[in-house]
């Protein structure tokens, strides 16, 4: 094959490094997805749009002269309340209903958010410039922007912080209890309604962090939400619910896959290949399970 990536093996290192750093960010979003899926049994199609909204918060801080890295603190706080608001308005009515209802309802929220962001922020592709410069590795042949490294480190810090919070705090215990058995938790005095609201808020806050980091490292655009939803869904189904190391590893794997697809197939097929990979993974798992006469649950 006459492709640049096979002629210059150093590009493989470059793509892998980029992919891993990108994948850590995806894993953070997928962690939020796994949390709400496990606890509330809903699939949130608007996940990606929450990410983009979080990104716009950081971008606006950048526009008003504040360093966008502070968005990592501000964005989750705002997004937490946005999440609580969405929960109170819509999600609490779909929690114990059929999963398809939640998919469709959040699809509606996704379209709504997409369009509102398009009105409020315009349809331009924007980027919050952090001015962090780049790091050169291996005799200047691999270029890593410092902002990507920063994003990966912040994601890891938030993920570890959340894991500890879920293990140690009272709310974290309540969330885990509700995830195991909502009815039993209710009987034992857990206010599940509050737990659900908090879970959705935490999920939105995680999206806010990820969005702020994405606005620094990559670009954001009102219509870019759906691919993030699909990526996080994919990561969760590959890793399985409640498998946090799995989420991290499959997130990085997806990042690497995407970078390679970008190099080999071309940028115009990048999003398409992500969606196609989702279909392939689901079909693969379906065939694997059907040998045991089971199906994906």
């Amino acid at each position: 094959m006459d492709l640049l990536i096979f002629k210059a093996p150093i590009l493989i290192v470059q793509a892998s490094m980029d992919g891993i750093l990108l994948g850590i960010l995806f894993a953070l979003i997928a962690y939020g997805m796994a949390l709400q899926w496990g606890v509330m049994n809903i699939i949130n199609i608007a996940q990606g749009d929450l990410v983009i909204l979080g990104g716009y918060i950081a971008y606006f801080m950048y526009l008003y002269g504040i360093h966008p890295a502070w968005g990592v603190i501000v964005s989750p706080i705002i997004m937490y309340f946005v999440g609580i608001g969405i929960y109170k308005l819509v999600i609490n009515k779909v929690v114990d209903r059929d999963l398809f209802i939640s998919i469709l309802a959040t699809f509606g929220i996704s379209i709504l958010f997409m369009q509102l962001m398009n009105f409020a922020f315009g349809a331009d592709v924007v980027l919050a410039n952090s001015g962090y410069g780049t790091t050169m590795l291996f005799n200047n042949s691999v270029v890593l922007p410092n902002s990507k490294i920063f994003a990966a480190i912040i994601s890891i810090i938030f993920a570890i912080g959340l894991v500890i919070y879920m293990k140690k705090s009272k709310l974290g215990r309540a969330i885990r209890a509700t995830a195991q058995n909502a009815r039993a938790a209710k009987i034992l005095g857990v206010d599940t309604e509050k737990v659900y609201a908090a879970t959705f808020g935490i999920n939105a806050a995680l999206c806010g962090v990820a969005g702020a980091l994405i606005s620094i490292t990559f670009t954001i655009h009102p219509y870019m939400g759906l691919p993030y939803t699909i990526r996080s869904f994919m990561i969760v189904i590959v890793a399985g619910l409640g498998n946090l190391p799995g989420v991290a590893i499959s997130g990085m794997g997806l990042g690497v896959f995407e970078e390679f697809a970008d190099y080999i197939l071309g940028t115009e097929f990048r999003i398409g290949s992500v969606f196609l990979l989702l279909v392939l993974i689901l079909v693969y798992r379906r065939f694997k399970l059907s040998r045991k006469r089971e199906y994906l649950k």
């Binding site: 379209i111 115009e268 379906r286």
Partner: protein, 350 residues
């Protein structure tokens, strides 16, 4: 079929036949309405009757659209040069070529998606519930993204379908496409109605209610699921082909594989009317189209916001749809036997 039903069908048929001459200004809208009803009916076959909620029927619709236009051009002229010239036409179809091409194109647009549905059906339909929904969503979006990168069908800049030939009357274009879509709608309705009166529909309902039990009863569920999906794909592709000619311009993500609009519309229309009924999708699509055009006219620019709110409201507060609501209100009309004493007891319980 009793007398009332016959009169109803006759009235609708006559209305459909005279509508373009009575309301000439609404010809295009009526054609789009016919296409929307076809899409809602076909979605209902596996979404409502089979219980497989698909976001991916847009795949067949877009495939049909591209195939019909490509065949129509490719039969007489080199396709690559046509798409390269974009809006400026270097080749002109004669009327015979146009109609011949369109006819063959529609046939291909209906048959190829059916084959595609059959081929991918075995893999995809093994998934259930929300995995199926998300997988088909991915399929639809992937098709849009990939077709946007293929040069021969116009890639990102779109594909202009052949312009309607000049055959005297200015009204001819609208009338031609109206009758195309109306005839397809009638065919779809007759086909689906006759399918629904056979054992096939009962099997689909059994799959929806409990697939494992249906399998245990000796039904080859996979076979029926694939056939159901193929029927859907056939009419979806047909509708796509007509819509492509009607719109006159095909773009990969905004017209053909428009999962964000058409892909959600068909789900919404079927749910609004009532899933799993014959007339539900028809009523739902009609009401939805009127609402949508109202939104598009009065809230120009805010239409997607209104659409998002509409989806959330319908899904949360109206999941049974219009037919479901009517059924709850007048169960006797739906052939349910109502025991008065039982009903009273239920009222007292409430």
């Amino acid at each position: 079929m009793n007398k009332n039903n016959l009169i109803l069908y006759a009235v609708i048929l006559i209305f459909g036949l005279v509508a373009p001459f009575v309301f000439p200004a609404f010809k295009v809208q009526l054609s789009i309405l016919c296409v929307l009803i076809i899409l809602a009916i076909t979605w209902n076959i596996q979404g409502g009757e089979m219980g497989y909620n698909s976001f991916g029927n847009i795949l067949f619709y877009g495939l049909g659209m591209y195939l019909c236009a490509s065949v129509q051009v490719g039969m007489f002229f080199p396709l690559a040069e046509w798409t390269e010239s974009g809006g400026e036409k270097t080749f002109v179809h004669t009327p015979t070529q146009f109609f011949q091409g369109f006819g063959v194109g529609l046939a291909v647009a209906a048959i190829v998606p059916t084959i595609v549905a059959g081929l991918i059906g075995y893999s995809i339909l093994g998934l259930r519930g929300h995995y199926f929904a998300i997988c088909t969503l991915g399929l639809g979006v992937a098709a849009g993204e990939i077709s946007g990168g293929i040069e021969i069908i116009g890639a990102g800049q779109g594909f202009t379908t052949p312009p309607f030939p000049n055959i005297g009357s200015l009204e001819a274009r609208g009338e031609f496409f109206y009758f195309c879509s109306f005839v397809s709608l009638v065919l779809t309705f007759i086909a689906v109605k006759s399918i629904y009166s056979t054992r096939f529909k009962l099997v689909l309902n059994a799959i929806r209610d409990n697939e494992d039990k249906a399998e245990a009863m000796g039904i080859q569920t996979m076979k029926y699921k694939i056939i159901g999906w193929m029927i859907s794909a056939f009419f979806c592709g047909l509708a796509g082909g007509i819509m492509g000619g009607l719109v006159g311009y095909i773009d990969s993500t905004d017209v053909a594989f428009d999962g964000r609009e058409m892909g959600v519309f068909m789900v919404l229309m079927a749910i609004l009317g009532g899933k799993g009924t014959l007339w539900g999708p028809v009523i739902g699509a009609t009401i939805f189209h009127i609402f949508k055009e109202g939104f598009w006219t009065f809230f120009l620019g805010w239409q997607y916001v209104a659409l998002g709110v509409l989806i959330v409201v319908i899904v949360i507060y109206f999941p049974e749809g219009i037919m479901g609501w009517l059924r709850e209100k007048y169960p006797e009309r739906f052939g349910e036997v109502v025991d008065e004493a039982d009903r009273k007891a239920q009222v007292e319980l409430k």
